[in-house]
């Protein structure tokens, strides 16, 4: 009985969504069948897109860009963040720049990035990277700067040289904080790439959305947004699994999903 309730709770948003969607579409509240196709229509479109390979190809393209952008952001974020967190001079030098760039809407930089990187894959990856970098960097800087000194002293007293301690002690100890920032960064990577594809076009799920909008293939629009949402959800779940494994030793409670 409890399990049923548990499942019901998890599933009801989808049920609600489908219900509302069907009703809105049927009674043309938000618009006619064209503007708001029924779930059935969208499902048919889905099947068609999967069947002719479009959805698969576009999804792969977007996913690839997201993963590249994210990987780069993780490496850059952790490295720079750790340097800022541990080295006083680096922190003094870079902090004003980081503080300035963090609240900056990276979107404002998109046109500039288009000019620099062109309209191909590079700029989309750049967008994803720029949106993902700062949460990770800031979390790494904060996490690595708050390490208990006695932990480092213990390592030193057991023979760990200072440089090695960075990798052996600082990063593992800061991992919970880093991963919190990394989770936010993941969302940023997805949004950045998707937005880039919507604006610049060419290929990818974002392009499917924007193109469908322009050519009035409204059902495709829905297909695109649902797909990217599912990707976001799936990647987040994968992330949580990875985090659970990496932080098996941690005493902290699991953060709520979302």
């Amino acid at each position: 009985m409890r399990t049923l309730a548990w499942i019901a709770l998890r599933v009801y948003p989808f049920a609600l969504l489908l219900l509302a969607w069907s009703l809105l579409s049927k009674y043309g509240i938000l618009g006619n069948q064209f503007v708001m196709p029924s779930p059935g229509r969208v499902w048919e479109t889905f099947k068609a897109l999967v069947h002719d390979g479009t959805l698969g190809a576009e999804t792969a393209t977007t996913l690839q860009r997201v993963l590249i952008a994210y990987a780069m952001a993780i490496v850059a974020g952790i490295v720079i963040g750790t340097l800022i967190g541990r080295l006083r001079y680096v922190r003094l030098a870079l902090r004003p720049i980081a503080s300035f760039l963090f609240p900056t809407p990276k979107v404002a930089l998109y046109p500039a990035m288009f000019i620099i990187f062109g309209l191909g894959s590079a700029s989309k990856i750049a967008f994803g990277f720029s949106e993902a970098l700062f949460p990770i960097l800031l979390a790494a800087a904060a996490g690595t700067s708050q390490i208990e000194p006695r932990l480092l002293w213990s390592a030193a007293a057991l023979g760990t040289p200072a440089r090695a301690a960075l990798v052996k002690v600082v990063i593992p100890a800061a991992l919970p904080a880093i991963l919190t920032g990394a989770r936010i960064g993941l969302v940023g990577a997805i949004i950045g790439v998707y937005m880039g594809e919507m604006i610049a076009g060419g290929d990818g799920l974002g392009h499917v959305m924007a193109d469908a909008y322009r050519t009035l293939h409204t059902a495709d629009m829905y297909a695109s947004i649902i797909t990217i949402s599912l990707i976001g959800f799936a990647l987040d779940r994968v992330f949580l699994l990875a985090r659970g494994w990496l932080l098996a030793w941690s005493a902290e409670e699991e953060a709520q999903a979302a």
Binding site: W153, A156, A157, G159, P172, L175, W249, S250, A251
Partner: protein, 268 residues
């Protein structure tokens, strides 16, 4: 003040060690000239009022904090940086939370380059020695305070340090477990004859464990008095409490500490 002339060359020798901390508000003189001599194999306790800098002195001996003045030598050579020959056990935040008990104990051996199988075997031996057999795969978060300190001890002892520095290691542990750990520590010490510097708040603990007690003054701290704990060994934690000599020593240390706490001390 009783201090015997050292018969063998001292293991640890501190002369006039000072420590000054710089802060935005100005300088704070934490330690103002500590003289301390530890002979090889001695168990020395350091007691003093809260905040007097006894832990700081320990950290200086360990090489984690640099002294502002005075000299400090270990085996005749000055202390420059932390080293496995001066093992340290802190009160808390000691263990690497991302490593298992086994991982923690093996850590130092890995640094030394000991091959994997040997590491495991040696670590297992030490885990057994501190009575934690069966907990090898546990993470620190699953252990009680007392168990964590046992792991800390094992991790340090496996390096076979000449000197053991202990910073109120049992301070955060409940009273019953504390006595058990104290006794086990004594047994290990009697077997291995390491030189131990033991910082503590507890006069009872100091009297039970040590050969000599250094009583420090309040901040800026100096050595107020060195007390020779001439209670016979091996000591029984319960039996000694009743003896008259214990009572005298206890009163002596206690009154010194109270004087320091109140500020009656004659430090300049």
């Amino acid at each position: 003040m009783t201090e015997e002339r050292p018969a063998a060359p001292p293991k640890i020798e501190a002369r006039g060690v000072c420590k000054v901390f710089e802060s935005p508000r100005g300088r704070v003189r934490a330690i103002d000239g500590i003289d301390l001599v530890a002979r090889p194999g001695e168990f020395i306790s350091i007691v003093g009022p809260s905040g007097c800098g006894k832990s700081t002195f320990l950290y200086i001996v360990g090489g984690f904090v640099e002294a502002s003045g005075g000299t400090l030598t270990v085996d005749g050579a000055p202390v420059q940086r932390p080293d496995p020959s001066r093992g340290i056990v802190f009160q808390e935040f000691v263990l690497f939370p991302w490593k298992t008990v086994l991982g923690n104990v093996m850590y130092g051996l890995a640094e030394r380059g000991v091959p994997r199988r040997e590491r495991r075997e040696q670590a297992q031996a030490y885990i057994d020695m501190v009575h934690l057999s069966g907990f090898e795969k546990h993470y620190p978060k699953e252990l009680s305070g007392g168990m964590k300190q046992r792991v800390a001890l094992a991790r340090t002892l496996i390096m076979d340090p000449d000197i053991l520095l202990m910073d109120e290691p049992f301070g955060a542990i409940d009273a019953q477990t504390r006595v058990v750990l104290q006794t086990e520590l004594l047994q290990i010490w009697e077997r291995t004859k390491k030189t131990v510097l033991f910082v503590t708040h507890s006069v009872e603990e100091a009297l039970y464990l040590s050969d000599r007690i250094y009583v420090l003054s309040g901040r800026p701290s100096r050595v107020r008095e060195v007390i020779d704990v001439d209670l016979p060994r091996p000591r029984d934690s319960e039996a000694i409490v009743g003896t008259p000599r214990y009572g005298e020593l206890h009163r002596r240390v206690w009154s010194l500490l109270q004087a320091e706490q109140r500020g009656d001390g004659a430090s300049s």
